[in-house]
């Protein structure tokens, strides 16, 4: 007899060692997420994947599934909190979707549409975050960083280069690169590194390929993220 738990009232079968998010995905149920990636261990920073288990909020990407647990995910309460977390991410950075090259391919934007975020609610921070264009092939626009650390993890664990890291703390936390000058051009990042291709938002962009696909025909312009995410495993 396989083990199962209830996901929004429906039974989901799981194997020992699977997290709630993994088991739900395998059963065809989408849970919103930004910092989680199928090829990496759970990170747990964005908190978009929060669900309620026995009245308590937990990160579904990190919480092991347990026999008989009752998980609430796609409810007005949880989606309302997820929307507020998105609003927080929008106001702490500088996100101008209409002029962003990532528009239509951006997971933050796609999730905002999916969760029906119609405004930012909170006051904007308008932080000063200079752009780094020193690298011949890759542009860094820190204005859009959501601190998912996927580039940090990809560079460290897959590329073996440690090009990216986070420094400072709290609202002043920010991305740095592995060079005394602080310039990406002085690191050994290559355009085909995983770290240069994993950003879910518009921080790490390839130069000279901008707008190759017109806005309106891009990934999330065509299908909502809760469909795309289940198709390509991301």
């Amino acid at each position: 007899m396989s083990k199962r738990f209830l996901f929004d009232g429906r039974p989901v079968v799981f194997e020992d060692g699977q997290t709630i998010l993994q088991a739900a995905r395998a059963a065809g149920h989408y849970i919103p997420h930004l910092c989680w990636h199928p090829d990496f261990p759970p990170h747990g920073s964005c908190k978009l994947c929060i669900v309620k288990v026995a009245g308590r909020h937990v990160s579904s990407c990190a919480m092991p599934a347990k026999e008989g647990m009752e998980v609430e995910s796609n409810t007005p309460e949880i989606n309302g909190e997820r929307r507020a977390l998105l609003q927080m991410l929008f106001v702490e950075g500088n996100h101008f979707c209409p002029s962003c090259e990532k528009s239509g391919n951006c997971q933050l934007q796609a999730l905002a549409y999916d969760l029906e975020m119609t405004g930012e609610r909170f006051a904007h921070f308008f932080p000063e975050r200079p752009v780094d264009s020193s690298h011949p092939d890759v542009l860094l626009d820190f204005n859009r960083c959501i601190f998912c650390e996927l580039c940090v993890r990809a560079s460290r664990d897959v590329d073996g280069k440690n090009v990216f890291a986070l420094t400072n703390r709290g609202i002043n936390k920010h991305l740095v690169v592995n060079a005394e000058s602080g310039r990406l051009g002085d690191t050994d990042l290559a355009a085909d590194d995983l770290a240069a291709n994993i950003c879910p938002v518009g921080v790490i962009l390839k130069k000279r390929v901008g707008f190759a696909t017109p806005i309106g025909e891009r990934t999330y312009d065509v299908k909502p993220i809760h469909i795309v995410a289940m198709e390509d495993g991301k």
Binding site: G44, K47, S59, M88, F122, R169, G170, V177, N178
Partner: protein, 603 residues
């Protein structure tokens, strides 16, 4: 030194002193900074090279800790404790006065590089404040007279060793002693008693005592110890959490000053119970001044075979303790953040499970206990579990040390059996006309006068030890705002709700304080509170809204009298936005202000 000169300091020799071990990165950066004064970019590059680790990691760690400086600070670096109790004693005025005497702006370095002045979170001197740290040394009982003297000493560049010793006097202020504070124990006595019981017999006494963690969470110590003992992996570790960062708490400082040997003996008792071979004390950077005396106490214990190999002649009982310094990060009091910091990383709390008892320091089974918890284990070893459980309440056995500060005649350390009512404590410390008590620090609970019959106990009012008293002249909005600013400053920034939520709360409280709040702001505050409580990654984020939630509930008029009658008031302040234009045009007359002009027209 300019930022691009290569420092003349032998960074390689500092790294070598630490065995070239990257887990000692934080300790290495602290040492490098002690010799250069700050951490210039080339120094970070050299540290990375000497340790063969990426520079990005070194920069990540250097930026995390408030006491590590990636930009130059003055040769005299003064940090004023900014907890609410020091504010109430006039710390802000004292700091402004010092800054004006020294011609320096807060947060900036003077042109000649002589001095810099800033605020820092509570430094554990709440009973003898206002206080500051000068180049890491605590200076207590500040007054305007003392500020004048300090300004003069700084101007003359008098070395700290020549400053009047009474400036640096730190008193224990023990006002009420019970079982622990009146303990007089010869080194080794508790250990001999526990060894005589055997490992299992000793654990049994711990179980009978029902001792619960004194760091605030109240987890049963014996359960933690047994889980660690039963964990499969070898090389177990005992960590003493001396990162006493909760605002208004200073009892661990007193224990480490007076009874360090009892704390070390408690660590050794834990090692005996779980079979650990390695111990760490994680000492908060604010208590750096205690480091030498603590190291001396450890050497004495080694000389007496109370640490080292074959302790008390028992083959295989090998245990030693080293002290790691923190560097100004409250979040490192959270045990998994503490372990990250011990491993030389940024103090970001880990995902749990797994818990430290199975996967702790470097993945080894690890017991993390508070200073007071460990000290209390000596009482259990000496008197037995049953005697220990005879005091306090059934669910909260033994005594509790309270750090009392704020509006009372006798601030200091009070040891009570658990179950003591708040009103009894207030009476003993000489407090009258009291409207509120903050128990458990910024993360704790705000009690109004109609709750003073409640008792200090895990089942009623739990606490790590802070007890801040506010009389009827105090503004509870300002109290809550001080704690909100504290959490925003101390958030590690890992998870979205805490990183952004604490910053948003800080902005919302500022807006209210400036008299520009509306009812919608209170609704926003309550919404942010809920997100913090529900979605945060660790206890810092989920406790951050406590002071606001409590004061909004119990002292709502303190908020409402700051509101404009409007339903909505924008956060954007047009007049403030024109400040740059006023500076450029050299004008500051009423006509150059938006609000003033309107008022003039209306009048």
């Amino acid at each position: 030194m300019t930022s691009h000169e290569v420092p003349a300091v032998p960074i390689e020799s500092i790294v070598r002193k630490h065995g070239g071990d990257p887990t000692r990165l934080l300790q290495i950066l602290i040492d490098v900074q002690e010799s250069i004064g700050w951490l210039p970019p080339p120094a970070l590059t050299s540290v990375a090279a000497a340790l063969s680790i990426p520079r990005s990691r070194v920069e990540g760690v250097a930026g995390f800790y408030h006491f590590l400086h990636k930009r130059p600070v003055g040769r005299f670096h003064l940090q004023f404790a900014d907890n609410i109790t020091e504010r109430m004693q006039g710390s802000a005025e004292l700091m402004a006065s010092l800054c004006s005497k020294l011609w320096v702006e807060p947060g900036r370095v003077s042109e000649d590089g002589l001095v810099s002045v800033e605020t820092t979170s509570c430094i554990g001197m709440g009973d003898q404040g206002p206080a500051l740290l000068v180049n890491g040394m605590p200076l207590t009982r500040l007054s305007h007279q003392r500020i004048n003297q300090i300004a003069e000493l700084v101007r003359r560049e008098a070395p700290l060793s020549s400053w009047p010793p009474e400036f640096f006097r730190v008193d224990d202020n023990i006002r009420r002693a019970d079982a622990l504070l009146s303990l007089e124990m010869a080194p080794g006595a508790a250990l001999r008693a526990a060894v005589a019981l055997g490992r299992d017999g000793w654990m049994e006494q711990m179980q009978i005592s029902n001792l619960r963690g004194r760091g605030g969470a109240g987890f049963t110590t014996a359960v933690k110890w047994m889980a660690c003992r039963d964990a499969a992996a070898p090389e177990k570790v005992v960590v003493c959490n001396a990162d006493e960062g909760e605002p208004g708490t200073f009892k661990d400082r007193v224990l480490l000053t007076r009874m360090a040997d009892v704390v070390f003996e408690g660590m050794t008792l834990a090692a005996w119970a779980v079979g650990a071979c390695r111990g760490f004390v994680y000492l908060r950077g604010e208590y750096r001044y205690l480091l030498e005396s603590l190291r001396e106490a450890l050497s004495l214990r080694r000389a007496e075979n109370l640490l080292g190999r074959g302790i008390q002649g028992i083959a295989g009982f090998d245990f030693d303790i080293e002290i790691h310094l923190g560097a100004g990060a409250y979040v490192c009091g959270e045990e998994t953040a503490l372990l990250e910091s011990l491993e030389g990383k940024r103090g970001t709390p880990r995902i749990r499970p797994p818990f430290p008892v199975t996967h702790g320091y470097l993945g080894r089974p690890t017991v993390v206990n508070n200073v007071e918890t460990l000290a209390k284990t000596c009482l259990i070893a000496l008197g037995g579990g049953e005697a220990f459980a005879a005091t306090g309440t059934a669910q909260s056995t033994g005594t509790k040390l309270l750090s009392i500060s704020g509006d009372c005649a006798q601030p200091g350390i009070y040891e009570y059996p658990f179950g003591v009512p708040i009103e009894r404590v207030l009476e003993d410390c000489g407090a009258s006309d009291i409207q509120a008590v903050q128990v458990g620090g910024a993360a704790g609970i705000t009690l109004a006068s109609y709750e003073f019959h409640r008792r200090i106990a895990f089942e009623d009012v739990p606490t790590a030890g802070a007890f801040m008293v506010f009389d009827s002249s105090r503004d509870l909005f300002e109290v809550a705002r001080n704690f909100v600013d504290f959490f925003a400053h101390e958030s590690c920034g890992f998870c979205t709700p805490c990183r952004v939520g604490t910053a948003l709360l800080k902005k919302a409280m500022k807006k209210l304080a400036e008299g520009r709040g509306a009812k919608t702001d209170l609704a926003d505050i309550e919404w942010i509170d809920r997100l913090l409580k529900n979605a945060s990654h660790c206890g810092l984020g989920s406790a951050a809204p406590n002071p606001v939630v409590d004061t909004l509930l119990k002292f709502r008029p303190a908020y409402e009298r700051r509101l404009q009658s409007l339903d909505f008031e924008p956060a954007f302040d047009l007049d403030a936005a024109l400040a740059a234009a006023r500076r450029a045009s050299g004008r500051d007359d009423p006509g150059a202000h938006i609000g003033a002009e309107e008022a003039g027209q209306n009048g």
